[in-house]
């Protein structure tokens, strides 16, 4: 398998076959909380994509050049989460000063991102799957695309839900989870496509 094919494989697996929301059960809090409107979904999706890819690269570098040489691999969880939190903080500060318009658009999502379990999960998976830097970048990008896809699908459905009669017992979160269940069935069908 050529290098490019293998990278494509990683991307498709992360985005579809092993979708981070519907198959791996990650980032569910933001999946449920940020899909009330398409605007929120896209905004959150964009912010998460940016942070995930950058934080993955950063964590990878920290792991390979600090943790491994010092035999401190067992500290990866705590070091990665600190890296992510610090990175998000720096991005927030920078945006506030340098690009206030972007800060206004993306700013509210940033604090929420620090606790997004998908970002930490991607950083940890890059280690367990032994990816090199390029593979890790492709993987984190694929995961983010899958996340954006999940959010956009649900936001689209939820916007239309407003015009539908729902039994009162299902109003609110229950109907959302039922919908998610069916989308998950669809994604399960995609599982075999990446080998």
């Amino acid at each position: 398998m050529s290098e490019l094919q293998s990278l494509m494989n990683i991307f498709i697996s992360a985005a579809f076959a092993q979708n981070f929301v519907f198959i791996r059960f990650l980032a569910l809090c933001s999946f449920v909380g940020m899909t009330t409107s398409m605007e929120n979904a896209i905004g959150m999706g964009g912010a998460v994509t940016f942070v995930t890819v950058m934080a993955s690269i950063l964590s990878y570098v920290v792991y390979q050049f600090i943790l491994v040489p010092l035999h401190l691999e067992y500290l990866q969880t705590i070091v990665f989460i600190l890296t992510i939190a610090v990175f998000v903080q720096l991005v927030e500060i920078y945006l506030k000063k340098a690009v206030p318009s972007l800060y206004k658009a993306m700013g509210i999502y940033l604090p929420l991102i620090a606790t997004n379990c998908m970002i930490l999960a991607v950083a940890l998976l890059n280690v367990t799957e032994n990816y090199n830097l390029l593979e890790a970048t492709v993987f984190s990008f694929g995961a983010s695309i899958g996340y954006v896809l999940a959010l956009v699908i649900l936001a689209g459905i939820r916007e239309r839900l407003k015009y539908v009669q729902i039994p009162s017992i299902l109003k609110g979160y229950p109907i959302i989870f039922f919908i998610a269940a069916f989308i998950a069935v669809a994604f399960m069908g995609l599982q075999g496509i990446a080998r």
Binding site: M1, Y74, L75, I78, N130, Q191, G192, A194, R195
Partner: protein
Amino acid sequence: MKNSIDILKLGLTLGLVCLIAGFALSATYSITKDKITEQQRKALVQAQKEIFPDATEFKKIEISETKVGSATLKELYECLNENENILGYIATASTPGYGGNIIFVLGVNSDFSVKGVKVTEQTETPGLGANIAKSQFLEQFNGKTLNDEFVVKKDVKPVTSATISSRSITNGIKEILNFTSKNVKEASK
């Protein structure tokens, strides 16, 4: 300047917290370190013993992780009996399955036929693909040689409704068997 003193105090407080945390962490690590390595070897050691019950020593062959087709060879061992004769070889490898990587142990006789296969880790669909880890499925590989086709539905009976998982492990076994027979003489020099 009051500001710099404040920042210094903040830095010191944070530093102190990190120091205490670091101490607790490294203490726990040193206590658990050996037990963890022991646990990680347990699955492999058990598989080795089950496949080659007569072997008294498993000598590791110095070889780095290699990609073999779609599978990845992780480790290779020579299986010796008490007279230092080679009974066969053990390869640990992983191959991509339906729901993730399948980690397996392949036992190869000295004539490069399959001695046995054990699946140590898999995340296939429970009740379907996961059954590739069962001995009822894996037994059929015993005795297979490189002359066999290793094709599902031809010479390999798949797990019902789990063709993809069955194909993955079959392919993995074939590739690792191939690699082992070709490279074992080179590597153990």
